[in-house]
C-alpha cells in the first residue's frame, strides 16, 4: 500500500512527463477498443443482415448441393420431402431452387444463377412480393450490385437462357420487377430471383428445391433423409474466417501501437532511474530495501497504465459512445468487396474486450516498468547517494 501511495505521489509530482505517457497509453487503449468495436460491430451487423436476408434460422441443403461448388448445382436438388413441405406450408421454411443460367443484359452475356423462391414468403427480408406484378411475364428481382453491374433497371426486360432437368437449352425474357438493396452480396451479385413455381416449370423440376431456408428462432431441426441441416456454424464459417483474419491483422496494428506507447513508458523509467539516483540512495538510506525501491519504481511505471485507463475512460467513453450511435460510413466502393458489409458500421464494445485490453496494457506496462527498475537492485547505495551509480 505504501508503494502505491508513494508511487502515486511521485507520478503526479512528475507532471507533464507523466501525463504525456498517460495520454499515449490511453490513446492506445481507446484506439484498440474502438477498432475491436468496429470489427465486432461489423461481425454482429453482418450476421444480423445475413440472417435477415439470406440464411434465416438455418438451412437444409440437398445432400448433393455444395454452396462452394458450382458443379454441384446440376445434381444438388431434389423433391422437397414431406417433413420440410409441412414446415413450408406453415410458414416456417421457404424452399429455394438454384439453376445456372446466362443473362443477356444489353446484348452482353453474363453467367448468372437463377434463384426460385416463393413470392409470398416471409422468412427472409427480400422483397419477393414484387414478383407478384404483371402475370403475363416472369417477374424477377435483382440486387442493386447486380443492377449496377448489368445496368438493368426496373421494368426492363432481359433475356435469359438455361438448361432444364433434361439438359435441354431454353430461353425467355423476364421483367425486372424490382431492385432490392441488401448488405449481403451472396444474394445479389450475379443472382436473379424469380418465383419458385416459374423456375420449377422452366426447368422441369416441379416440387424440387436446392436448399430450404428455415425461419429464425426455430429451435429444432428434424433429421430428413437426403437433406443436411446447416446451422450458423457452417453458414457463417467463411465470414467467421474473414473476421478472424481481420482480428489478426488488427492485432498487429495494436501490437505496434502498444509497443510505441510502452516504449515511451520504458524510456521514462530508464530516464527516471538515471535522474533519480540520489532519490534511490535516499530511500535506501532511510530504510527501504533495494527490492522495495524496485517495487516502488515498478508500481510507479505500472500506475501510468492505471491512470491511462482512467484517462481513456474520461475522454474515450463519450467518443466511443458517439461513434457507436452515429456509426462509421464505409466507402462507396465497399459494396463490391464480396462480403457482407453495411454502408455504415456501428461499433459494438464488449465489456470483455475493454477489460482484456485494459488488463493487457496494465500487465505490459508493469513488465516494461520492471525491466529497467531491476537495475536498482544492483546499485550500490553509496554510489546512488552520490549520483554515480550508473
Amino acid at each position: 500500500m505504501l508503494a502505491f501511495k508513494l508511487a502515486y505521489k511521485n507520478l503526479v509530482g512528475a507532471g507533464l512527463r507523466t501525463w504525456l505517457n498517460v495520454f499515449v497509453l490511453s490513446l492506445a487503449l481507446v484506439i484498440i477498443v474502438m477498432t475491436w468495436g468496429i470489427v465486432e460491430g461489423w461481425n454482429v451487423q453482418a450476421k444480423h443482415d445475413m440472417k435477415e436476408w439470406a440464411v434465416g434460422g438455418g438451412e437444409y441443403w440437398n445432400e448433393k448441393y455444395d454452396q462452394y461448388d458450382p458443379l454441384s448445382l446440376n445434381d444438388g436438388h431434389g423433391p422437397i420431402p414431406p417433413e420440410i413441405a409441412k414446415l413450408c406450408s406453415s410458414g416456417e421454411a421457404v424452399p429455394v431452387l438454384i439453376v445456372q443460367a446466362t443473362a443477356y443484359p444489353g446484348g452482353r452475356m453474363r453467367n448468372i444463377l437463377l434463384n426460385g423462391i416463393d413470392p409470398s414468403q416471409q422468412i427472409i427480408k427480400m422483397p419477393t412480393s414484387l414478383m407478384n406484378g404483371d402475370t403475363s411475364v416472369i417477374n424477377a428481382i435483382i440486387g442493386n450490385r447486380m443492377a449496377k453491374a448489368t445496368k438493368l433497371s426496373v421494368n426492363e426486360m432481359v433475356s435469359i437462357r438455361w438448361r432444364d432437368a433434361n439438359g435441354t437449352f431454353d430461353a425467355t425474357e423476364i421483367r425486372i420487377a424490382g431492385i432490392f438493396h441488401s448488405n449481403v452480396p451472396n444474394i445479389d451479385i450475379n443472382q436473379i430471383w424469380l418465383p419458385l413455381d416459374e423456375l420449377q416449370k422452366m426447368t422441369s423440376m416441379k416440387g424440387q428445391a436446392t436448399y430450404i431456408i428455415l425461419k429464425q428462432g426455430m429451435t429444432s431441426a428434424p433429421t430428413v433423409p437426403g437433406w443436411i441441416h446447416k446451422g450458423y456454424d457452417v453458414l457463417f464459417e467463411e465470414f467467421d474466417k474473414v473476421i478472424k483474419a481481420k482480428h489478426a491483422s488488427s492485432s498487429v496494428v495494436f501490437l505496434i501501437l502498444l509497443s510505441l506507447a510502452l516504449l515511451a513508458v520504458f524510456d521514462t523509467q530508464v530516464l527516471s532511474i538515471f535522474r533519480r539516483e540520489k532519490e534511490i540512495g535516499t530511500y535506501i538510506a532511510l530504510g527501504m530495501t533495494r527490492w522495495q525501491v524496485v517495487w516502488l519504481f515498478t508500481v510507479e511505471g505500472a500506475m501510468h497504465a492505471v491512470l491511462s485507463v482512467v484517462a481513456g475512460a474520461i475522454w474515450g467513453t463519450p467518443l466511443l459512445y458517439l461513434l457507436s450511435k452515429n456509426g462509421f460510413a464505409m466507402p462507396k466502393g465497399s459494396e463490391g468487396y464480396g462480403f457482407t458489409l453495411a454502408e455504415k458500421i456501428f461499433p459494438v464494445y464488449g465489456a470483455g474486450t475493454i477489460i482484456i485490453t485494459a488488463v493487457v496494457i496494465m500487465l505490459a506496462t508493469t513488465i516494461v516498468s520492471f525491466i529497467p527498475s531491476r537495475k536498482i537492485a544492483r546499485m550500490k547505495p553509496t554510489d546512488a547517494l552520490r549520483g554515480k551509480a550508473q
Binding site: L2, K5, K278, T282, A285, G287, M288, P381, T382, L385
Partner: protein
C-alpha cells in the same frame, strides 16, 4: 546514558578497486561511540570520513575488520537486516539535503514513519513535533523547491530525528549553508542531542561544526591520527 557503547569499530579497512589497482580509504580503524555522543570525524578531503560514516550507516561493507552497530556485526547482516536497522535506529543528514522533491515538507518528514507503519494519528503528532523542533511548523505544506538551503537542511534534520533514532549520521551538513544557517542547524542538533540523547556523528572539515563537537576524531590518509574530547 553517554557511557553505553552503541558503535564499535575494529580494525576497519576499506579498499576500493581503482582500475587494476586498489585505493585504501580506511586502514585499520578502531573506534567506539557511546550513546548520546556529539562527535565528529574530521579531516581533509579523501581522508575516509564519508567512507567511515557509510560503513557505520550500513550503506557499505568493510573490506576487513568489522563495525558492530547496536550489537549487530555489520559483516553478518543481510541487506534486508541492514535496511531494518537503518529504518528503526538511524537517521541520515546529507550535504545536499536529499529531500524528496515531489513531497511536501510534512510528507518528507513523515516518510521514515511510513516505513515504520506507524498509525496516522501518531505519525501526524510526531511530524508536527519534529517540525516544531526545527522551527518549520509554518512550512509543512511547502515543497522543498520553495525553501532556502537552511530550511531544507532543517527539514532533513526533522526527517532524521522524527523517529527518535539511536544514531544520526551527518555528512558535511553545513557544506552548502552560510554561517548563520550553519549555526542555527548546529544549535538545533545540539539541542536535540541533549534532549533526546541521540548519538550524532558528523563527517566534516567545517570549523563551525568542529566548534560544536564534544569529541573530535581526526582522520588522515584513512587512519585515526587524533581522537580527542573537546568538551566533557
Amino acid at each position: 546514558m553517554e557511557n553505553s557503547e552503541i558503535i564499535s569499530v575494529h580494525d576497519l579497512t576499506k579498499r576500493f578497486p581503482m582500475g587494476l589497482s586498489e585505493f585504501t580509504a580506511l586502514r585499520g580503524i578502531n573506534l567506539e561511540f557511546s550513546r548520546g555522543e556529539f562527535s565528529g570525524v574530521v579531516g581533509p578531503s579523501g581522508s575516509g570520513k564519508t567512507t567511515l560514516l557509510n560503513i557505520i550507516g550500513l550503506l557499505d561493507n568493510p573490506t576487513d575488520g568489522d563495525a558492530i552497530i547496536l550489537g549487530n556485526p555489520s559483516r553478518s547482516l543481510s541487506v534486508r537486516e541492514a535496511a531494518m536497522i537503518r529504518r528503526k535506529h538511524m537517521g541520515f543528514i546529507f550535504q545536499t539535503y536529499n529531500l524528496l522533491p515531489v513531497y511536501t515538507v510534512f510528507e518528507n518528514v513523515e516518510f521514515p514513519l511510513l516505513l515504520l507503519s506507524m498509525n496516522t494519528g501518531e505519525r501526524k503528532k510526531a511530524v508536527l513535533e519534529a517540525l516544531a523542533w526545527v522551527g518549520l511548523s509554518d512550512k509543512e505544506k511547502s515543497k522543498p523547491a520553495q525553501l532556502s538551503g537552511g530550511e531544507c537542511q532543517r527539514v532533513a534534520i526533522a526527517r532524521a530525528m522524527v523517529k527518535r533514532p539511536d544514531i544520526v549520521l551527518a555528512d558535511e551538513p553545513t557544506a552548502n549553508l552560510d554561517a548563520d544557517n550553519s549555526h542555527h542547524i548546529l544549535q538545533t542538533m545540539e539541542k536535540l542531542n541533549k534532549e533526546l540523547h541521540t548519538t550524532f556523528i558528523f563527517a566534516t572539515h567545517d570549523d563551525k561544526v568542529i566548534s560544536y563537537l564534544r569529541r573530535k576524531i581526526t582522520l588522515v590518509d584513512g587512519k585515526v591520527s587524533h581522537d580527542e574530547v573537546l568538551k566533557p
